[in-house]
Symmetry: C2
Subunit: 213 residues, 2 copies
């Protein structure tokens, strides 16, 4: 499909783009319900419109429809949550008070993997093979923003052992899952990032992160 | 700053979000000019609004203002372009016909690095330490979309040896650059991804990339 992509964005469109960027949240509290299949389709098409290094398109989306599979994913994440608490040592109790996923409550559960065709693609990756993951993250960010514009919440859970999750989902050889995405209606969006509201961490001011050379 | 993030997006806002996702391009052709400092600031704030694993905020932005530094970045990328052509073997001539960067023509040159404070952050990274890169990619995707909404082009160049680029920029120890971003006015946006227009590769239909379990 050819798109006329050369048009200009006006002030109201620009404001909507900045608004969605500012009001996207990493959600862990969900209100059940369902995601309309046409909406889910739009979200996944938005993800699939992401840039990828050398146009290699290194992502795969798995929609978890089986309650049994969803439960096994939840169990894997619970195991890793405990292991993370152990590794956090001094902050273990504080970490364990946080809600870190909404796998059982969210309307839709998606798993995203980096596909296993990596070795064929050298363009933009000869010195940085991990650029395929960067592309997959751009696709997930597209999905996240589109979901917020659909007034749906999304959370990216990265508390799992990738090889075990690949096993549970019977992913193709070489695929590496990098995200469990909880998606669906929410009662409200956090005013600030939940980890900030819960005093786990603070965002950083741009001044700290910007240098000139 | 507390944002009321609980409002709903209406149809016109949603359309603007989908439009910017569809019409963002990885640009390599630039028209010189300048980026208004207030616009650049908005773009970088959009990047800094990205999600990050455990709210670790693992990104650093370096604005290249010195013509000499810009030239040295361009030279590093030229070297890697030749090495990539060699590695591509059968497609070397085809690759060398592609314009892969606009470093000397773009209004603003930014380098983004993953910061070196990685070991302190275990949350969401115990089994997948590379989640910091995923967060940085989300920040870059925010910047990319905001730039398109400002009617500015951006291209992500990943043709460089990270350690050498870190040396040219005198980055703090542990920082790993992952993106050279060319940013600025363009004469037109590609109707389709440039690598598709140039018959390097084709996007893939969602059906090929979506499974159920």
């Amino acid at each position: 499909m050819t798109v006329d992509a050369s048009g200009t964005f006006d002030d109201s469109e620009r404001a909507a783009v900045y608004r969605v960027i500012a009001e996207r949240r990493d959600m862990r509290h969900f209100a059940g319900g369902v995601v309309d299949p046409a909406v889910l389709r739009r979200l996944l098409e938005a993800a699939n419109s992401a840039p990828s290094v050398g146009l290699m398109v290194p992502w795969r989306f798995v929609r978890v429809v089986s309650p049994d599979v969803r439960e096994r994913v939840a169990e894997l994440v619970a195991v890793e949550r405990d292991r993370t608490a152990e590794a956090l040592d001094g902050r273990a109790a504080e970490f364990l008070r946080l809600k870190v996923e909404g796998i059982r409550e969210c309307a839709e559960l998606l798993v995203v993997s980096v596909t296993g065709e990596r070795d064929q693609h050298v363009f933009g990756r000869r010195t940085m093979p991990h650029m395929d993951l960067a592309s997959v993250a751009c696709a997930i960010q597209n999905l996240w923003l589109a979901a917020r514009a659909e007034n749906l919440g999304m959370g990216w859970v990265s508390l799992f052992e990738p090889a075990e999750l690949a096993g549970v989902l019977d992913l193709p050889p070489g695929d590496e899952p990098v995200a469990v995405l909880c998606l669906g209606p929410v009662d409200r969006f956090y005013d600030r990032p939940m980890l900030q509201e819960q005093q786990w961490a603070e965002p950083r001011a741009l001044e700290e992160l910007l240098e000139e050379r």
